[in-house]
């Protein structure tokens, strides 16, 4: 038995993330109206769709940053929609990177990467520092270890944010429109980092507007509009023979 088997009964042949009939409302506004899909280990999933279609809300529900009203989200067998949810257990498995990077501005790049393993996982500092240095190198920011976030470009900050998330050794990464706030020339370096991660077998869920990238990297693409999944499929067929008029319209505007 592999060590990833937890007491939840989850085994690696089952979906790593399993979302069933997910409903999410903000007050009277229902943002997600029954979304279901599975993500297998090592898969890269891209979620696309017009603004306000609930894409970001969807992945924020996966690591319990938003609570849900109905349905089920299971991450390696852990039910997220459970009042007794051990959030720390969940967040150890799920890494998240945000559109606005959200680095801790009072800490240097390497300190940002080191903080959570030391404070949350209580790992020894020397060990964490070594790993953090490796991660900084991995996202190609060698030499920027001692820079503060405010001294880095958007693309550099975003890569520190990715390293910070990876430092927790997550099993799955969520990327919430992480290139949306970046200059076009820095988008590439961030996407390259994600591509490398995907190639190493990291399970990823991306909310993105980078269609070319989604086509290249995704195993499966989901198109959401007004709180439901309108259409989905592997990129090869998704971009060429979309059936739903809403998908067609969206793709015609964006491609």
């Amino acid at each position: 038995m592999s060590e990833t088997v937890t007491n939840t009964g989850w085994t690696p042949d089952q979906p790593m993330v399993s979302i069933k009939n997910l409903h999410k409302s903000f007050g009277d506004l229902e943002v997600l109206k029954g979304v279901s899909f599975d993500v297998m280990k090592g898969e890269v999933i891209c979620i696309i769709g017009p603004s306000g279609s609930g894409k970001s809300t969807l992945i924020r529900c996966v690591n319990a940053l938003n609570d849900i009203q109905k349905g089920s989200i299971k991450v390696e067998g852990i039910e997220v929609n459970d009042p007794k949810l051990d959030k720390l257990e969940l967040r150890k498995k799920v890494g998240m990177v945000f559109q606005q990077y959200n680095l801790f501005p009072h800490k240097t790049a390497i300190e940002n990467v080191m903080m959570a393993p030391i404070h949350v996982l209580k790992q020894p500092k020397a060990e964490v520092e070594e790993r953090a240095a490796r991660l900084i190198k991995k996202v190609r920011l060698e030499g920027k270890e001692q820079s503060y976030p405010g001294e880095l470009s958007g693309g550099q900050q975003q890569r520190v944010a990715i390293a910070r998330s990876l430092a927790m050794n997550p099993e799955i990464m969520l990327f919430d429109e992480i290139t949306a706030a970046l200059d076009p020339e820095t988008v590439k370096e961030v996407l390259f980092t994600i591509q490398e991660l995907a190639e190493e077998g990291m399970t990823c869920i991306l909310v993105t507007h980078e269609m070319g990238f989604a086509r290249e990297i995704a195993n499966h693409i989901y198109f959401t509009d007004r709180g439901v999944i309108v259409e989905h499929g592997p990129p090869a067929s998704f971009f060429t023979d979309a059936k739903d008029p809403r998908t067609k319209e969206f793709l015609s505007q964006i491609l």
Partner: protein
């Protein structure tokens, strides 16, 4: 030292300006004792008021409604009543009641007993809570200035509310509210003179005793003004140094 004393003795003889604390041993000992007492009072109150402010700001965000209500009540009481009344209340009402009810532990002073919290203690309690109430509000404004996104980033990394407060939110909030904090601490330093009312032998009280004995009110007033100008100057200088040290590169 003798030259110094002679100068002031001469000054008195020639001009009538009586800075008795600088040339008469008894009075200068009283003065130095007052310096220590007032410094002790100020430093303890400054530190405790910061502790009250930090713990209070944390408690204000508590899940429990009761904790939040207690905090709101505390702040309303201390912010909306005069510190002078508070200090009298603590010493004469709270202190006396506790002693009468036998709830105040006594400390053996070698032949006689004194209550654990005497006039100095009650001055510390009342002034720390007074300034602490303002500190809570100051820290709260700083905490509210920390973007929700930063909190969420910490949350997504597995930080609990307490850990996120200690390592992320408070360090950022603190920088935002340093100027306001600065003002309140200066105010607290000056407000410690109210301990005079319950006979704590700090600078104000001692100055009053000295001028009663020597009829040199004007001179002692000058001493008081200069004493507090210097102390506030030092405090502000330290706070500014701290502020500069806390500047984050590329962040405002």
């Amino acid at each position: 030292m003798e030259v110094f004393a002679d100068f002031f003795r001469d000054l008195y003889d020639t001009t009538g300006l009586n800075f008795v604390i600088f040339y008469e041993e008894y009075e200068s000992e009283r003065f130095i004792a007052a310096v220590w007492t007032s410094l002790k009072l100020i430093v303890i109150c400054l530190i405790l008021s910061l502790v009250v402010g930090i713990v209070g700001a944390w408690a204000q965000g508590a899940k429990s409604r009761i904790v939040r209500l207690v905090m709101a009540g505390y702040i309303q009481f201390f912010r909306n009543t005069p510190p002078f009344v508070q200090i009298l209340f603590f010493y004469f009402v709270v202190g006396t009641t506790l002693e009468r009810a036998g709830l105040m532990p006594l400390v053996d002073m070698g032949g006689w007993n004194e209550p654990l919290i005497g006039n100095f203690g009650w001055a510390v309690v009342s002034l720390s809570f007074f300034a602490g109430a303002f500190n809570v509000e100051i820290f709260r404004s700083g905490i509210e200035a920390v973007p929700t996104a930063t909190r969420e980033a910490a949350e997504a990394l597995g930080y609990t509310r307490l850990k996120s407060f200690i390592y992320v939110i408070f360090p950022l909030a603190f920088r935002v509210c340093l100027p306001a904090l600065n003002n309140n601490l200066v105010n607290l330093l000056k407000t410690t003179t109210l301990a005079y009312a319950i006979a704590v032998p700090e600078m104000m009280y001692t100055a009053n005793q000295i001028w009663s004995d020597n009829v040199n009110v004007t001179e002692m007033m000058f001493v008081l003004f200069i004493y507090y100008i210097v102390l506030v100057g030092i405090l502000v200088w330290l706070m500014h140094k701290w502020e500069r040290k806390m500047i984050i590169l590329g962040y405002n």
